[in-house]
């Protein structure tokens, strides 16, 4: 069985993708970039940095691209997976510390938290409000306090990424709803501090309408999951 793969969903990320792949290769990880039908040089830059590239024939969204990575890892017998964004928000050097608890079997999923003391990350007011809201929702619904429920910087074992390859995984913004689903599925979740940079240009949740849609969607999913029979991990 192969060991670890780094999955990077990317859409028009030619500015950052080369450096990210190089850094990940530097720490000995196999890297797969899921090019979500970019119009720029994302795929060729990722290839030249040494990554494998899987290309969607049409733009399917962040969640779908991420899930393609899960499916690829599951089909190719990888044991562990680390996921990070292609926009330079996540520091690739932290991938190792994220993987540690998963490889040591202390957790099924390890979330990189930007609020545990490493680096300086100051989100906008709206984003802070959203994060606090989801923290409280998760605490109320599952009893678990997750300091960074919207972090996309995560490491997981085979059980988790095989589980997330199913149909319940959301296509657009997989965030607190997925953490909730995994907690309900009895996954062991741990957080470790990571460095994150705020990239206002590329943030998925930029704009009031987007934020409102996002909040409503996640809440709707959280309510739906409360009544759904969730399969155990």
């Amino acid at each position: 069985m192969k060991e670890t793969v780094a999955v990077i969903p990317a859409f028009n990320e030619e500015k950052h993708i080369y450096d990210i792949v190089k850094k990940l290769k530097g720490i000995g990880l196999e890297v797969v970039v899921i090019d979500d039908c970019s119009h720029d040089e994302t795929a060729s830059k990722a290839l030249s940095a040494g990554a494998s590239v899987i290309r969607h024939i049409s733009n399917m969204g962040y969640g779908a691209a991420l899930q393609t990575g899960y499916k690829y890892a599951a089909m190719n017998g990888y044991s562990y997976l680390v996921q990070l964004d292609g926009d330079g928000q996540h520091e690739p050097d932290c991938a190792g510390s994220l993987l540690e608890p998963v490889i040591a079997k202390e957790a099924d999923l390890c979330i990189g938290s930007r609020f545990m003391g490493r680096g300086k990350y100051t989100p906008t007011f709206l984003r802070s409000f959203g994060m606090m809201f989801f923290r409280l929702m998760l605490k109320a619904l599952t009893g678990k306090w997750v300091s960074d429920p919207t972090s996309g910087f995560q490491a997981m074992n085979r059980k988790v990424f095989s589980y997330l390859s199913g149909d319940s995984f959301p296509d657009d913004y997989p965030d607190a709803d997925v953490i909730f689903m995994l907690l309900k599925a009895k996954a062991v979740i741990k957080e470790v501090p990571v460095t994150m940079y705020y990239n206002a240009d590329k943030s998925m949740h930029a704009g009031l309408a987007h934020n409102l849609y996002y909040m409503l969607k996640i809440n709707l999913l959280l309510i739906a999951y409360c009544f759904k029979r969730i399969r155990k991990l």
Binding site: I54, Q67, K71, Y72, D167
Partner: protein, 114 residues
Amino acid sequence: MQNTQFYAPVLATLIFILVTVWLIKNERLKENFGVFWITISLAMLLVAVNIRWLYRIALVFETYNIASISYSLAIFFLFLLGLFFSAKMSSYEKKLKNLTQELAILKKQAGTEK
């Protein structure tokens, strides 16, 4: 009831059924949707033939006006239809996503992409 009040809706419904059958025959409407529309057409025909039912329904809702009750039922039906098609679209979207993902992975494994 005047003749036109009876024949107009019956004629409209028959045209609707004929168009549905024609669309299925020419493979421009899938038969599973065809069954749905034929059922709707037959229901409309039934109401058109027994227009008194509408008066009774109007009385139940205390509207005393069959135009109002017809519009209300039509709007309710259209909302249901919208919901039904949203569910259908969601299901197709899921299938499309799975196909795109499988295709991308298989292309990678077949070596057509590096």
